[in-house]
Symmetry: C2
Subunit: 247 residues, 2 copies
């Protein structure tokens, strides 16, 4: 008996087949998108209806909000968002810029908490959004704390997101050393032109487990970033870390 | 052959077994919490590891952020959050109170977008949070538009959340008529003492599909709610509805 449960993979694929371009689908649509037979697609869809994850009018199927609870199993298991959110809201109110917390997952950062203030350059970053770690300030502070950094650099393609993105492993390693010594990082136009972001590490029992950032626009002078944003950022990272160690 | 895929139900139960109290579990823990045999729990856990939804150090299992993508299949399929979020941010910045958008799911409202400003009374409302529709301002504007309202009232227990909650179906029906005529609703301490909330319907092609609210504290005088909050709330509901009809 194989250890792999194909029915689980297929059922999750049926959930993921729905998105902004496919908000409602017929049985035939789902079969086509997932590559399942009509009979199999029908069994998965009816099971999801039965479990409350999907609804149907008999012809069209749509997801129900219960699907959100799956994602929140992860956020809740992390513990971090509940602890971080009030600190993040205080920081955003103080600096009038959007603030976020992310974790590292492979070579990506994934947003787990966010307080937007005004929208910067129409960038809309939601919880669950991923960005390549090497091109982000939060990724840099988390990579700087990695024990197996050489493995990461040897195996991860350092894609250029803009013409400013560091794509040379040697150069990135040297920047990460600087970040480690300094205790925070700045990324300037490497993820997106005009977007400037600073980040600091969140520690649980001394170990870096996440990062908090402030993202801003190039129109704010670098001096203002150093003088007005870095101190509250570091204070927030410390406060979240202190709360984590209490809980 | 049954139409119900038990493996899918069990796999989803394994994901949901993880939460703030159980952020990491051994195989035996998962078997105990889900009621599965150790052999079955092992197959589901290894499948989830294989699919990238879980990680393990060989002994302890934890969820990975990919689980968030399942919840975002729902949010994305809804289309609503992307359209509503900028309007919600503008409204929150204007009235300096927390603002949300929710949809109706059975007898509950479920939050699908939210912009917090300051934290009111330590209430922390995240996307995916559910409240009984009858005791909330957003629920009231959505119930007021239901065609099968009598069925709802006949089958839904109107639980008292505080001593102010309307629990009499006849009284609720009369309040919903008033809400329908007025075009917005106010709920005052019925969900939680001291919490006052107003809501207006979001329409897609004339049909009420969601609601937007502003939640505030009893310390704000009723006159201020009427004069300062209702007009921007109604303008925001109109603006979101207009954008939905464009998209």
């Amino acid at each position: 008996m194989s250890d792999f449960v194909q029915s689980l993979e297929r059922g999750l694929a049926v959930i993921r087949a729905f998105d902004a371009d496919h908000p409602e689908m017929t049985l035939s649509d789902v079969a086509r998108v997932t590559g399942l037979t009509r009979a199999a697609a029908r069994r998965f869809l009816l099971t999801l209806v039965d479990l409350g994850y999907m609804r149907t009018d008999g012809r069209l199927f749509t997801l129900r909000p219960k699907v959100l609870e799956l994602g929140y199993s992860y956020l809740s298991s992390l513990g971090l968002p509940d602890v971080a959110q009030p600190h993040l809201e205080k920081l955003a109110a103080e600096v009038h810029e959007s603030c976020s917390v992310s974790v590292l997952d492979g070579s990506d950062i994934v947003y787990v908490a966010r307080v937007p203030t005004k929208r910067i350059m129409n960038v809309m970053i939601e919880i669950g959004t991923r960005f390549p770690a090497h091109a982000t300030s939060m990724g840099r502070v988390m990579l700087a704390a990695q024990e197996n950094l050489d493995d990461f650099l040897a195996t991860t393609p350092l894609t250029a997101l803009t013409d400013r993105t560091i794509t040379d492993p040697v150069e990135l390693k040297s920047e990460l050393s600087r970040v480690r010594a300094q205790g925070w990082s700045m990324v300037d136009g490497e993820l997106e032109h005009g977007l400037r972001s600073i980040a600091a590490p969140i520690r649980n029992k001394g170990k870096v487990i996440a990062a908090v950032n402030i993202s801003t626009h190039v129109s704010r002078p670098i001096e203002s970033v150093h003088d007005d944003l870095v101190p509250p950022l570091l204070a927030t990272a410390e406060a979240i870390s202190a709360d984590l160690n209490l809980s």
